[in-house]
Structure formats: structure tokens, C-alpha cells
């Protein structure tokens, strides 16, 4: 039971890091990134390929040990985000969301189809789990120290970033791009920096995920599990509030893991359909939050003082 709770907390911490990254992009910078799952997936596969032993099945054998491959898991998604940012950040609002969604689909297709690179649908097995041999029994607790620790680090990191002068410009660009331009701040460049930073952090979460499970396959990164659930965490907690997002993450992940019992309630033949019950539940939670408390549990309606707003 205790290890069940620990494993819940580990996954919640990993999702918490992605949710913080998305909250930075959406809540503070106003970038409607429907492709946050792509950065998560890229980070996961980067870490898996960098640390895996040489094999004939897929790319690998770089032999980068655990904490160091997380650097790769941050740099590769950040670099891809940088490349994508050039065309995508020309778009605004809805079209930007569509472009990022399309990028998620494309990266998913590549991971799904290119056997030589990622072993396709079969996934990558035997990813090193740091210090697993020393404590196979208490592994969830040990990993909770790593994942939970990093979650706390990133919480304070984003708290600091948002309040820094740089973060103030980022928030300013969200509220009024023209005003930021008039103040001599290159709005596009700030959006790019925010996009890249968020992607790097989501990539690190991906790296943490593969070292925890020891296995990764494209099914971990469906639109529901990689992107929508993260959006749900941000919206429930309240976009623009890091504390709220943490609460949202633990709540949503709790409902998701808790709803697993739904699949047990149905007879075996109905099990696949029961899986869709959980998907339904996630969608309904978002609609309920939007209808009853659009700013989320901890969200504030305004992130800058009223008198500074142009509208």
C-alpha cells in the first residue's frame, strides 16, 4: 500500500514538472502549446537512447549514465522547439495551438514508425534504473526522492524566474505584445525563450519518466496522456499560479490513478470500454472546471495590476 502511494507520488511529481513547464508557457507567456507532450516524448526518448546499451534493434549505445543523460533530455527538446518556434511563433492563438498539435502528431509518427531509431511500437526495454539493484524493494521511495526533489527545485526555479525582471517582460508580452514592443522589448524573442525553456523542462520530466519505468513506448504519449492531462492539471489548479498547478497535478493524477478501479468493475470483455470511462471522466472534469471556476482553484484572474492593463 505504501509503495502504491509512493509510486503515485513519483508519477505525480513527474507530471508536476511538465505542468509547471506548461504553466510557464501558457499561464505566464500566453503560448497555447498543445504540443507539450511532444517535448515530454522527445525528452523521454532522448534519455532512453542516450543511456541504453548497444543493441541491433534501435539506435543506442552512447552509454551516458543517469544524471547526465537528463542534460540531453533537456537540450534535444529545447533545440527542436527552437527550430519549430521560427515558423510556429509567427502564428498566434488558435493557429499556434494547431501548429504545435501538428508537431506532436509528426513526432509521434516518427517515433511510431521508424524502427531503426526508436524500435517503433515495440518500445525500448531495459532502460537503466539508477541504483535499482541496491534496493529493489524500496525503489519507489528512493525514486520519490529524485523526482519529488526535482519537482521542488523546479517549483522554486519557476517562482524565481517569474518574479525576475526577465519574467516580468514575459508576463508583459502575454498581456500586451504591442505595449512590450513599444517599451523596446523584442516580444517575439521573449516568446521563443519561453517556448524553449518550457520544452527543456518538459523534456527533463520525460527523462525522469523512462528511468523510473525502465521502459518506453509510443503508447505512453497519446494525446490524452501526454498533452491533455497536463492541460487539465494546469486548468484545475489555475493557470498562472505555480502553487495551484501543483495542487491540480496531484488532484488530477489522483483521480486518474483512482479511477483505475473502474476498469475492475466491468467484466473482462468490457474492460477496453471501461478504459474510455476514464477518458470521459478527464474531459468532464475540464468542462466542469471551465463552467464553474474558470480561473481554477488557485488562479487569479489578473497576473498584473488592473491599472496597467490596456484594455
Amino acid at each position: 500500500m505504501l509503495s502504491y502511494i509512493a509510486s503515485y507520488l513519483v508519477m505525480a511529481s513527474i507530471y508536476g514538472i511538465i505542468a509547471l513547464a506548461l504553466n510557464f508557457q501558457w499561464g505566464f507567456s500566453g503560448l497555447m502549446n498543445f504540443g507539450i507532450g511532444a517535448s515530454y516524448m522527445l525528452g523521454a526518448y532522448s534519455a532512453a537512447l542516450l543511456s541504453s546499451a548497444p543493441t541491433a534493434e534501435h539506435l543506442g549505445g552512447f552509454g551516458v549514465p543517469f544524471p547526465f543523460d537528463l542534460i540531453g533530455a533537456a537540450v534535444i527538446p529545447a533545440f527542436i522547439a527552437f527550430l519549430i518556434g521560427f515558423p510556429a511563433l509567427r502564428l498566434k492563438g488558435g493557429p499556434f495551438a494547431i501548429a504545435t498539435l501538428a508537431i506532436h502528431e509528426i513526432i509521434y509518427l516518427i517515433v511510431h514508425n521508424e524502427m531503426w531509431l526508436t524500435n517503433g511500437v515495440w518500445g525500448i526495454r531495459d532502460i537503466s534504473r539508477p541504483l535499482y539493484s541496491q534496493m529493489p524493494q524500496q525503489y519507489d521511495f528512493f525514486y520519490l526522492l529524485i523526482a519529488g526533489g526535482l519537482l521542488i527545485v523546479f517549483y522554486f526555479f519557476f517562482r524565481k524566474v517569474v518574479r525576475s525582471p526577465w519574467g516580468r517582460v514575459i508576463r508583459g508580452v502575454k498581456v500586451d505584445e504591442d505595449m512590450a514592443l513599444m517599451s523596446g522589448k523584442h516580444a517575439w524573442s521573449y516568446k521563443m525563450q519561453s517556448f524553449v525553456l518550457g520544452s527543456a523542462v518538459a523534456g527533463i520530466a520525460g527523462g525522469l519518466f523512462v528511468h523510473y519505468t525502465g521502459f518506453v513506448s509510443p503508447t505512453n504519449f497519446t494525446p490524452l496522456m501526454a498533452t491533455f492531462i497536463v492541460w487539465l492539471m494546469v486548468m484545475v489548479g489555475g493557470s498562472g499560479s505555480n502553487r495551484g498547478v501543483l495542487v491540480g497535478t496531484f488532484f488530477v493524477w489522483g483521480v486518474w490513478t483512482g479511477s483505475e478501479f473502474l476498469t475492475d468493475l466491468f467484466p473482462g470483455s468490457m474492460e477496453t470500454r471501461a478504459g474510455f470511462m476514464r477518458m470521459f471522466l478527464m474531459g468532464i472534469i475540464l468542462l466542469i472546471v471551465i463552467m464553474t471556476r474558470p480561473q481554477g482553484i488557485f488562479g487569479r484572474k489578473k497576473i498584473i495590476p488592473k491599472y496597467l492593463r490596456s484594455k
Binding site: P87, I98, L101
Partner: protein, 309 residues
């Protein structure tokens, strides 16, 4: 070369049916409806439902279906519209009254995607369904192979697109819809009831999507994820053509459909010659995305888009 072109026209007419709905909602309700793919899927499943209830009326000409299919399509268009109007009543209308931003509405529609997709999967199961037996193609000169149903697909899309165009252009209601999209305040001041316009926008959008879903089901198969994979081509068609432009949605849909088929087949030939082993058909959505980048670099508001629109 001509084979992929023909396939592209078929795919393009289905994309167009979806794209018109996306562009209407984007223009009049002012948000990108991510649930449009799910509406597309729902339409296909409603047709499947009615087709099994209705008595079999035999088949017309050399098509694989008959009069019962036509009735099923009409019933499906009505049912899909009713479901969409229900969602509008309980969700989007409240948000409109609250003056929610367009990004917020888009996010809401993303939530709706999962509700609808899960419901469809729970009712009909995740497996693939077919309307009828798979038809064999007729051979034409130049190596073109066309199934009789595919003539119906293109003809039905063209007729419905034309009807929608004439409706918007010449009827009182259509003119009111265009006026609302142009300037809400002025339209209201001239006595146009916005809620009525919104209702008709949803009905048009959902009906065309239901037809599109059914036609795709005829061409390929129906499955719960079909609409999601059509979402990106539909959106790209709208952005390429210019948001809010009817002709743009038509041109965009055709451009996406034809270029997806043509470019994949050309690249596949090229890779075969270079001995690179890549299955290009798996990357069709990527082509739509590359296209969007090219068009937007040249014309930021789309091919038919108005500046600032």
C-alpha cells in the same frame, strides 16, 4: 501521377466539407473548434446506426449502397446537429455570455473532444466498422482506378458545398450570417439576432461534418479516431485558405488533399530510387504541416484571407 491526383481530389472534397465548418465557427463564433473532428466521427457513426435500423432498399446504379444510405445521411446530419446544439446550449452559450476569450473556447472544445471520443468508443467499441462490403475499382485509361462510390463522394461534396455557398450568398439568413461575421455590433444594430445566427452556424458546420465523416467511412472505414486524424488537415485547409473565407476553405481543402497524395507518392518514388527505406504514406499529416509553413511565410493571412481578419 494521375492516380494520386484522383485520390487527392477525393480526399480533398472530404477535407473541404470539414474545413467549411471549421471556418464558419472560427469566423462567426470566433474560436477554433478542436471538437470538429469528433463531430465528424459522430456523423459517421450516426449514419452507421441509421443504416442498420433502416430496411435495406437495394443499391442504386453501381454504387455499393442505395436509398437507405441517403436517408441515413440526412438523419445523421439532423442528429449530429442536435447533439452539437445541445453542447452549445449547455457549454458554449454560457461561455459566450461570460465573454470568454477565443483561446478559452478552443480549450473547452479540446475537452469536448475527449468526452465525445470516449462516448463514441464506449457505445460502438474501439474496433473498425464498415458500411458495407468493400467495392472493387473500375479501371480507366492511364492507370486510373476509381470505385463507383468515389464518384458519389466527389459529387455529394460538390453539391453540398454549392448549396452551402448559395445559402450564404443569397438567402436572408445567409446574408445575416455574413454580416455577423463581418461586424457583430453593426449586425445586431441592424436587427440580426446573434443567437439565431449561432444556431444556424452550428447546424451548417455539423451537417457538413456529418456528411464528410460518412463519406470518409464509405471510402475507408469508420473508427473512433478517424476525426482526430482529419483535424489537422481541416485546420490547415482553413489557415491556408484564409480564416473565414468560404472559397478559401474549398481551395485549401483541395490543395491539402491533392498535395498530401501527390507529394507522398512523388517522395516515395524518389526514396525508392535513392534506396532509402521510408514508408511515406505514414507521414501524410506532416505534409499538411509543411504546407502551412510555406503558405504563411508567403501570405501570412492565407491565400484568400483578408488582412486583419
Amino acid at each position: 501521377m494521375i492516380g494520386p491526383l484522383v485520390n487527392g481530389i477525393i480526399l480533398g472534397s472530404i477535407i473541404t466539407l470539414g474545413a467549411i465548418g471549421v471556418t464558419l465557427v472560427a469566423d462567426i463564433l470566433n474560436f477554433f473548434n478542436f471538437a470538429h473532428g469528433a463531430i465528424f466521427t459522430l456523423g459517421a457513426y450516426f449514419t452507421y446506426l441509421y443504416l442498420n435500423i433502416l430496411p435495406d432498399m437495394g443499391s442504386m446504379f453501381s454504387l455499393s449502397f442505395g436509398g437507405s444510405m441517403l436517408i441515413a445521411i440526412i438523419l445523421s446530419m439532423v442528429s449530429t446537429s442536435l447533439v452539437v446544439l445541445f453542447f452549445d446550449k449547455i457549454i458554449f452559450r454560457t461561455l459566450r455570455r461570460r465573454d470568454a476569450s477565443s483561446l478559452f473556447l478552443a480549450l473547452t472544445s479540446l475537452g469536448l473532444v475527449f468526452v465525445m471520443k470516449a462516448t463514441i468508443s464506449m457505445i460502438w467499441g474501439p474496433q473498425v466498422h464498415y458500411y458495407g462490403p468493400i467495392q472493387s475499382a473500375i479501371k480507366f485509361p492511364l492507370g486510373i482506378r476509381v470505385k463507383p462510390d468515389e464518384f458519389f463522394i466527389v459529387a455529394a461534396s460538390l453539391i453540398l458545398v454549392l448549396v452551402a455557398y448559395l445559402f450564404l450568398k443569397y438567402t436572408r439568413l445567409g446574408k445575416a450570417m455574413r454580416a455577423t461575421s463581418d461586424n457583430v455590433v453593426l449586425a445586431q444594430a441592424s436587427g440580426v439576432g446573434t443567437e439565431r445566427i449561432v444556431t444556424w452556424t452550428w447546424i451548417m458546420s455539423a451537417s457538413l461534418a456529418a456528411l464528410g465523416g460518412t463519406l470518409y467511412g464509405l471510402e475507408v472505414q469508420i473508427r473512433p479516431t478517424m476525426g482526430w486524424s482529419f483535424l489537422i488537415p481541416m485546420f490547415v485547409a482553413v489557415i491556408v485558405g484564409g480564416v473565414g473565407s468560404f472559397g478559401g476553405a474549398l481551395a485549401g481543402g483541395m490543395i491539402i488533399g491533392i498535395s498530401e497524395e501527390l507529394i507522398t507518392s512523388l517522395l516515395q518514388d524518389l526514396f525508392l530510387k535513392l534506396d532509402i527505406r521510408v514508408v511515406m504514406s505514414a507521414y501524410k499529416p506532416a505534409i499538411a504541416f509543411v504546407l502551412i509553413i510555406f503558405v504563411l511565410l508567403v501570405r501570412p493571412h492565407g491565400i484568400f484571407g483578408r488582412k486583419g481578419g
